[in-house]
Symmetry: C2
Subunit: 157 residues, 2 copies
């Protein structure tokens, strides 16, 4: 256990005092296709902002050629919801002791990247579309993060 944020891009297997890990199920139940790759200015997890800023730096989402046509009409949406896969997070913690907090909490009571299915969800502002690349603001993840889904943001009603 260390309070130093990881500075390499090796998977984070740290566990802190009071954290609880469980044995993962022997098999997964469904499979995901990575549909693209996110490019951001942050090369390590330590550099990533705590949360995305709609006025933050321009980032790009490169959609794999196979799925390009699925972008048709996306430019009509000012805000998009992006789901991405936090590929370097461990998946077996049920209780976590967040670095900046005095309490321990269950994984589902946190937005930590460490969770059984490390899917992050962010709302981004669409700046423009160029070919199969979306230029957006509001992401908070490392350069190279795989994308799982992009859809129009639906305001909470």
């Amino acid at each position: 256990m260390s309070d130093t944020p990881p500075t390499s891009d090796a998977p984070d297997l740290d566990i802190r005092p009071n954290e609880i890990a469980v044995k993962l199920p022997p098999a997964t139940d469904a499979g995901l296709y990575f549909i693209g790759t996110i490019h951001t200015p942050w090369k390590t997890r330590a550099e990533c902002p705590r949360r995305g800023d709609p006025e933050g730096p321009l980032c790009s989402i490169e959609i794999h050629e196979q799925w390009c046509q699925a972008l048709t009409g996306i430019e009509r949406h000012a805000k998009l919801q992006v789901l991405y896969w936090m590929h370097q997070s461990r998946r077996d913690l049920v209780i976590q002791a967040p670095r900046r907090s005095a309490v321990i909490l269950g994984t589902f009571a946190l937005r930590s990247p460490v969770r059984p299915n490390p899917i992050a969800s962010s709302v981004v502002v669409l700046d423009r579309v160029e070919g199969a690349t979306l230029y957006v603001r509001g992401l908070d993840c490392m350069d190279g993060t795989p994308v799982v889904d992009v859809k129009p943001e639906r305001p909470v009603g």
Copy 2:
């Protein structure tokens, strides 16, 4: 192709005029664990509301025993984001012709359940927690839908 909404719970393999399907990649890139099951009053897709209503019927999210501890502290959150797996949707359409629309659109410009990774995201109001079951309002999916993640809702900032 038919305009009649499906009434069984068989997978929906319909394709409408002007819709375009692509060949799916030969393998998936990551695996998901189903962490629980959603219970709603809707037994078929045809009965499901078009979108969840925070004042709609009480639904429940039963978390599998393996992940129970991960609910610790969740009761402090009034609103949760739920990610679930629309297990009956085809995954290969890039262009869709929505039933109620005159235009054709790319899959990523729609919130249709038909998408490469059929993950839905809803914001729900938490009514109460009983053991490993969350009682919530605001879901729109079929009874029996697998859950992929639950996290505190973060207001769009």
